[in-house]
Amino acid sequence: MPVTVKTFTSTNEAAAALSSDRSARYLGGGTLVMRALNEGDISISTVVRASDHALTRIDTGGSRITLGAGVTYARILADRDLGFLHAPARSIGGPAVRNMGTVGGNLFAPNPYGDFTVAMLALDAVVSVQGGLGSREVPIEEFLQSRDRQAGTLVLAISFAKPGNAEAFRYRKIARIKPKGGAVITLAAYLPVNGSRIVGARVALGSMAPTPIRARAAERALEGRSLDASTIDAAAAAAVEGTSPSDSAIASAWYRREIVSVHLKRLLSGQE
């Protein structure tokens, strides 16, 4: 049975087409769905697209930043207001993948991919999804926890509070291959400072569990403290808590556990 491509102008119709057909997948940048088709994934027999311009909109005007699900990494890199996201955007793929891949698709990318989502998790983003009855907002952590069941969901956008200070956001992807490689681990931290104290610390890790996760113990070690050497040591020591990394072609679970604290320490202390 050949593949059927259905293109809709409205996200409503696209969402309906997705939810009514178990063999349907939404085509964003193509890096996941087209690859699956090329490799003979016959579970996909319908490809759904939507041409709604809202899907490719970047809104940085208000207190929250909204990225349409179809926004590519190249678009983010071209946007000065999104300078703090340039590091995660640049860490993905080569230039061609950055011209194609989208922030919405990244939410579904399995390890060792999905680096941008780690950044979104540290920013405590909210995912807008279109269901049968309209759109709803899902906290990103909740979205990721139920990701396996989201194949038929249409993601519209991802949004998060604009960081008060871009310096408060830090990101690092540890890859064997430079400048482009799959992640050994990915780290993102959002450390807003009030006076000299960190208030509302968020640390997110990629490749340390089946989906990106928050490093809650490290966050606790940072919360309410100033970012000095002893705080950094305490946070780094707690980084591995609650993680469940896997062995993969790129690195073992053991190795990931061993280095996550080293790299969190380097990220927090600004070391290369």
Binding site: M1, P2, V3, L37, N38, E39, G40, I42
Partner: protein, 530 residues
């Protein structure tokens, strides 16, 4: 940056040449930069069909039942190919040089021996339809215990990977489970050495990863022949392997290739051509069979893993006096070319050094993994890793500079090598000296003055007394030597003149022509010539 050191060995060269030695542009460069170099897949044929294979999900299993009835009815399917459709469904690549027994089917029939082994081939109108049909092939497996470790495979009671070789080792000289090398009395030398160091080295499988995957396109040509566009690295190997498997004369085929998107050894195995041609024969249509990237990485043959044990004896003054090596080539489920690599590896011992006592046992072992094949440095790369790490450790042990340690032990012109041929045309010492110079690595003057052309031979040319092993059969007959071995070391004779033209009358059939259509390249490899 590349520097030509014309000052070295200048007296051995005539540099008065016009075209040789020039950095002339590649003949194929214009084609490459314009994207017009013709790779096998750049041929567009009318009505081309696509071939995909059903691969084993198990590393070792009996095939209880293979049911293709639903797949045959699947949309777009033109032909299902089973093992019974392959005229000669058992082959070993080096049968063309009479080395080894046929041990590998094109399509598995009663048993699979590695995960990913082809069982059924499907020829369909489109890749998608082939994939859909693959999902409809029902295979009932009876999983068998598998063995993945080369030393486990040699233990009594280990699962038999390949019934052609029930001991899980390739058979050398019709009796031996290994290729031996014996030169001098290693055990005695180890006993009297100042230091003995035994170490284990390991290399896991490596993928060739050419940017172009393996593949071919076969199509019925005029006059009953088949044209085959191929990525092969060895055109006539592929022609003759196909002739044998498909049981037709080799001139049934017109193979075209020669422009290949990287090989590194991974395109020697004639992986796609036999089934591709068979597909064209059975459908009367052009057929394309190209590996996907995951197929290439996991089921295309890798550089095989090796495990190596080295035990060395070294004197306080830095002379290595004994080297004892046991190495296991992990051939995977079938022989392919690993049997050859083990012999090449034995010949390579003990590395580029003159060591008076050398002992080697090199095994080609079968395990339930993807069959291994040749790769850049075949039979040598892992051994060089082991030997050179070992040399570094030995230098450390005796407190010598590692560069000087190598110069001290380096082979020189006139020395006897462990495979019992004189070393000639050597240049290791000079390479070490020049590399040291480039890296600003200080060498003492006496080591700077040493030369590959000085102080070799003499006692270093002696074949040291080698103890006879109790199980040893009668002594081997005198060895046949190559032209070069007979030639004096210093002369530079041109290659022999071409042989006279062949008679114009049709060639008479050879008395020992093989039953299949392929011409054997040789009939003496691996058999004793007295």
């Amino acid at each position: 940056m590349l520097e030509l050191r014309k000052d070295l060995f200048a007296d051995e060269r005539d540099d008065n040449l016009k075209e040789i030695g020039k950095g002339t542009q590649r003949q194929d460069m214009l084609g490459h930069v314009t994207g017009t170099s013709p790779y096998f897949d750049d041929h567009k044929l009318q009505g081309m069909l696509h071939l995909k294979v059903v691969r084993s999900e198990h590393s070792h299993a009996r095939l209880r039942r293979v049911d293709t009835s639903e797949a045959e009815r699947s949309q777009g399917v033109r032909r299902i190919i089973r093992g019974s459709d392959v005229p000669h469904n058992l082959n070993t690549l080096l049968s063309l040089i009479n080395f080894g027994k046929d041990d590998e089917p094109s399509l598995a029939v009663d048993k699979v021996r590695y995960k990913g082994e082809p069982i059924v081939a499907i020829v369909a109108d489109s890749p998608r339809e082939a994939f859909e049909a693959i999902a409809k092939v029902k295979i009932d497996y009876e999983p068998l215990p598998a063995v993945f470790d080369v030393e486990d495979a040699l233990k009594p009671g280990a699962p038999v990977v390949n019934e052609v070789y029930p001991k899980n080792t390739f058979t050398y000289h019709e009796t031996y489970d290994r290729q031996q090398l014996r030169f001098g009395d290693v055990d005695r030398a180890l006993a009297s050495a100042d230091h003995v160091l035994e170490q284990r080295y390991q290399m896991s499988p490596i993928e060739h990863a050419p940017t172009e995957t393996n593949g071919s396109i076969a199509a019925p040509d005029t006059n009953g022949r088949y044209i085959v566009y191929t990525s092969t690295q060895a055109l006539f190997f592929s022609v003759d392997t196909c002739a044998k498997i498909l049981d037709v004369p080799s001139n049934t085929f017109h193979f075209i290739g020669g422009t290949v998107g990287g090989g590194f050894g991974g395109k020697v195995d004639t992986l796609t051509e036999p089934l591709c041609i068979l597909g064209a024969m059975l459908t009367g249509r052009p057929v394309r069979y190209v590996f996907g990237r995951e197929e290439e990485m996991q089921y295309g043959p890798p550089r095989g893993a090796e495990r190596i044990y080295i035990k060395d004896g070294v004197m306080r003054d830095g002379r290595v006096v004994a080297r004892k090596v046991r190495a296991y080539f992990d051939s995977g489920a079938y022989t392919r070319l690993s049997s050859y690599a083990a012999v090449k590896c034995a010949a390579h011992l003990p590395g580029p050094y003159t060591i008076p006592n050398v002992y080697g046992d090199i095994y080609c072992v079968f395990t339930n993994r993807t069959p291994a094949t040749a790769m850049r440095g075949f039979g040598v790369t892992a051994m060089d890793f082991a030997i050179e790490c070992q040399m570094d450790k030995l230098a450390h042990l005796v407190g010598m500079d590692p560069m000087e340690f190598r110069i001290l032990n380096s082979y020189r012109d006139g020395d006897m090598k462990a495979h019992r041929r004189e070393a000639k045309n050597t240049a290791l010492i000079e390479c070490v000296q020049v590399a040291a110079e480039k890296a600003k690595w200080p060498l003492r003057d006496e080591f700077k003055r040493m030369s590959s052309r000085k102080d070799g031979g003499g006692i270093r040319a002696a074949v040291t007394l080698t103890p006879r092993e109790t199980h040893a059969p009668p002594a081997a007959a005198l060895q046949q030597r190559t032209t070069y071995d007979r030639a004096p070391a210093a002369t530079r004779e041109p290659p022999p003149p071409p042989s006279p033209p062949p008679p114009s009358s049709p060639p008479t059939p050879r008395p020992n022509a093989p039953a299949h259509g392929a011409a054997r390249f040789s009939s003496v490899f691996g058999t004793r010539r007295r």
